[in-house]
């Protein structure tokens, strides 16, 4: 069974300047959000397979939306993240079922490779609440310049019976990175860590 989507929002942020210095090329992040009906709102459901399948569907859909919005080829994606905010008639486990078992594989297909764990967050929330989507390098989790996050917020979601599911993709790290650590250029991308 596929997701009943009420709404999709896609945002692209470009940072051209920070603290008086030009950022060239601009750093860019995209985040795509789907607001879906929670099929298990208000009930205890032991088997969450349906939500896992919805996660697979949204991983592909939202991953593609981000890549398209950035206007890049999949291999140009550098970091990613995923998050869900479940409305008050659901439970945190619903968010987990969407995010963890099946969302990652199709997202990785959308950004090509993706050896690293997809950074994630989840919470319960109400319309207008902020969801902070963590970002990490897609092939080597230790790349320090790419630890970041992007905030999403929709004034009208999630309603009590809804779940807001977000995927974020970038083609760059933070503006002006200078705290050292493994760099994008030096990452091997084999084990997902370095």
């Amino acid at each position: 069974m596929s997701a009943k989507i009420r709404k999709i929002a896609v945002t692209v942020e470009e940072t051209h300047r920070e603290i008086g210095r030009d950022i060239s090329p601009a750093t860019r992040k995209a985040v795509a959000v789907a607001v879906i009906e929670n099929p298990f709102a208000g009930i205890y459901q032991e088997d969450l397979t349906e939500l896992m399948e919805i996660g697979a569907e949204l991983g592909a859909l939202l991953g593609d939306k981000c890549v398209q919005a950035l206007g890049i080829t999949p291999d140009q994606a550098q970091s990613y993240g995923k998050s869900a905010m479940v409305g008050e008639n659901g439970e945190l486990e619903h968010a987990a079922a969407i995010l963890h078992p099946k969302l990652g594989a199709p997202l990785r297909a959308a950004v090509e490779k993706g050896a690293a764990l997809v950074a994630s967050s989840k919470k319960m929330g109400s319309p207008g609440q902020v969801l902070d989507v963590p970002l990490g390098h897609k092939d080597a989790a230790y790349v320090r310049s790419h630890f970041d996050g992007i905030e999403v917020r929709l004034n009208d979601a999630p309603r009590a019976k809804e779940i807001m599911v977000a995927v974020a993709v970038t083609d760059s790290g933070r503006p002006l990175p200078r705290v050292g650590g493994l760099t994008h250029e030096d990452a091997q991308g084999q084990d997902g860590l370095r």
């Binding site: 989507i5 009420r6 709404k7 999709i8 929002a9 896609v10 945002t11 692209v12 942020e13 470009e14 940072t15 051209h16 300047r17 920070e18 919005a69 902020v130 905030e151 929709l154 004034n155």
Partner: protein, 193 residues
């Protein structure tokens, strides 16, 4: 007059498929363009500020063009609006400089856009949100197209910045049924009806 110093842009598109009722054939899409720029007048009272409107024109055109592309072409656009948030080092009047370059940029690129572009503005802190009003591009009284879009970002506007916003939409509210002048009945001469 000072040049426009751009720190950041944010482009958002949202597509609404239903709002609890039967899913209509046509979804509603809204898109917002935000430019976060330095406020050249922050921190002082500057009596002469109008020259900056001229400087903002290319930015307005650029934002309007990208919104049109995001929404699939000028013939798709049925609603628009604009707004500004001024960081705490500035004053409301600085936001008013966006009326002409922002509004006319959209109207220049959209055929049959006789209606005034609705707007809002405020002084805000970092993380401030702005509800940008939307009305029909050719007749302000078209009730189905009265709408709005919330915009903002966690890191703007800083004290010495302004957030300039343009929004466009592709149609009526989802499940619109509050009556009034219908888009099909527009006369299209005075920008009102």
């Amino acid at each position: 007059m000072p040049e426009v110093i751009l720190r950041k842009t944010i482009y958002t598109i949202e597509e609404v498929f239903h709002e609890g009722g039967p899913q209509p054939e046509k979804s509603l899409r809204r898109a917002a363009a935000l430019a976060i720029i330095e406020n050249p007048f922050a921190g002082r009272y500057e009596p002469e500020i109008q020259g900056f409107m001229e400087d903002l024109k290319p930015l307005g055109l650029n934002m309007a063009q990208r919104l049109i592309e995001m929404l699939g072409g000028a013939d798709q656009i049925e609603g628009y609006g604009k707004g500004a948030m001024i960081g705490e080092g500035g004053e409301l009047e600085h936001g008013a400089l966006w009326h002409a370059p922002g509004g006319y940029a959209m109207r220049q690129m959209l055929a049959d856009s006789n209606a005034i572009v609705p707007s809002t503005k405020k002084v805000a802190g970092v993380g401030g949100r702005l509800d940008v009003p939307i009305t029909h591009i050719n007749a302000s009284y078209v009730r189905s197209h009265f709408d709005s879009m919330e915009v903002g970002s966690n890191d703007t506007p800083r004290a010495n910045e302004m957030v300039l916003a343009l929004v466009m939409s592709t149609g009526a509210r989802i499940h619109d049924r509050a009556g009034g002048l219908a888009a099909a009945d527009i006369i299209g001469k005075d920008g009102l009806r």
